[in-house]
């Protein structure tokens, strides 16, 4: 639901999103040292694979957005990571688009980068139980922000999209709850099994 295709948004929104994304990716790439490339890249591949799983929940299924978890683990490297992931998805599967790449990157990665870098130090110091609560709230918040930003991208493009944008926001609420719980349990697991994963937020 966060992948806006080509042909929906207006040019000012596309250009704005593109410009923001270029700046954010440059910032993220700067933070990755040359020798950290394999680590960041392979972790990104892990997140990418995770996002492709349709997790059955009751009669339906969800794809996780993973903005919060990526922000916590990757820090600002989330921007280049989401960039290559969305590019590959647009090219290979036809999800999202080429002209909307910038907007989609910002919508998914910006909440993760902001909230992730805020909570990552707290999670490092916390006990697994407390870390789970922090990560859960952070994950849910990221989904909510992404939903709001997707809706804003539509609403800013055309006044005609207003109602659709509201419906879009409502559709994010179940994912927000699910991702909150899954993100929390995930960090609690990682904290017990391999806390080093949380140590190196770039």
């Amino acid at each position: 639901m966060a992948h806006i295709p080509d042909g929906v948004l207006s040019f000012p929104v596309l250009v704005g999103g593109g410009a923001l994304a270029v700046g954010a990716i440059a910032l993220g790439l700067k933070k990755i040292g040359d020798e950290d490339i394999p680590r960041t890249a392979i972790l990104s591949a892990g997140f990418f694979a995770l996002s492709l799983f349709a997790l059955p929940v009751g009669p339906s299924s969800v794809h996780l957005l993973l903005g919060g978890l990526m922000g916590i683990v990757l820090g600002t490297a989330i921007f280049p990571a989401v960039c290559v992931a969305l590019l590959l998805q647009a090219v290979m599967f036809g999800f999202g688009g080429l002209t909307t790449l910038g907007v989609n990157i910002i919508n998914i990665a910006l909440p993760g980068a902001l909230i992730g870098s805020l909570v990552a130090p707290m999670i490092q110091r916390a006990t697994p139980a407390r870390a789970a609560v922090i990560a859960g709230v952070a994950s849910a918040l990221c989904v909510a922000l992404t939903g709001l930003m997707v809706a804003a991208s539509l609403a800013l493009s055309s006044a005609d999209y207003m109602l659709s944008a509201r419906v879009m926001i409502a559709s994010y609420i179940p994912l927000m709850l699910i991702e909150g719980f899954v993100g929390g349990f995930c960090i609690s697991f990682v904290k017990r099994v391999k806390p080093e994963l949380l140590a190196g937020a770039a």
Partner: protein, 261 residues
Amino acid sequence: MVIGPQKDQAMSLVRATDTHEHFLARLDPRSRIVGAVLAVLASVAMTSLSGQMAMVVAALALAAIADVDWRAMLHRLAHVEGFMIVLLILLPLTMPGRALVSLGPLALSDTGLMRAVSIVLKVNAAVITTMALLATLEPVRLGRGLASLGVPARLVHLLLFLVRYQSLFREEGARLMEAMRARGFKPRVNLRTFRAYGNFTGMLLVRSMERAERVEESMRCRGFSGKFPLRATRPLGALDFAFSLLLALVLVGIILLDRIA
């Protein structure tokens, strides 16, 4: 460290995958990337119904030339439309205009319906073009093409690693899922389900981290200092110029049609 071409059945769209006889395969990846971006930009910029329809026709022609698997393409188009459903249902119902059909408080407006049709045409033209020109391009060649177009090497390395490792982690994830089911896991809507998914997510991340550490060490052993040589590109050939010229002519023609009509 070899980042080889990753053969992934689920990902390949072309029947005659990049066979060297096919002329698209002999094009430089740069021509295909730039061509795809320009064609998608043109599809998005269309303002008239005739222009939008012409772009869809041009995109279909490209797809025919690229010899895409039509069933796979239909499947993907249906998926893309899934995102659009909200927009397509609400626009005709909520935009002001002359009512075509009214059912109690609901009315289908003509302007809203036109708007929905134009979005469907634009989205499909863009997706079909992308598939024809880029989905058929091997990801490794896509990466090299991007690098020679000036995309930062670090970003290209990220892309190449992603291509190399994503299918591996997908298989690993599928195995974890299977193991969960074998232990009697049944997805419901409760805390137990979410905990299982949290552990699944965490486990896959831990595995990717461990894999990352091993790869990093072995790359250090081989003297990796942060850069791979991205193979030098050949100069563009006559075929590239012919393709670019033809595509440019078609696009300019359609844009003129769009502006005049």
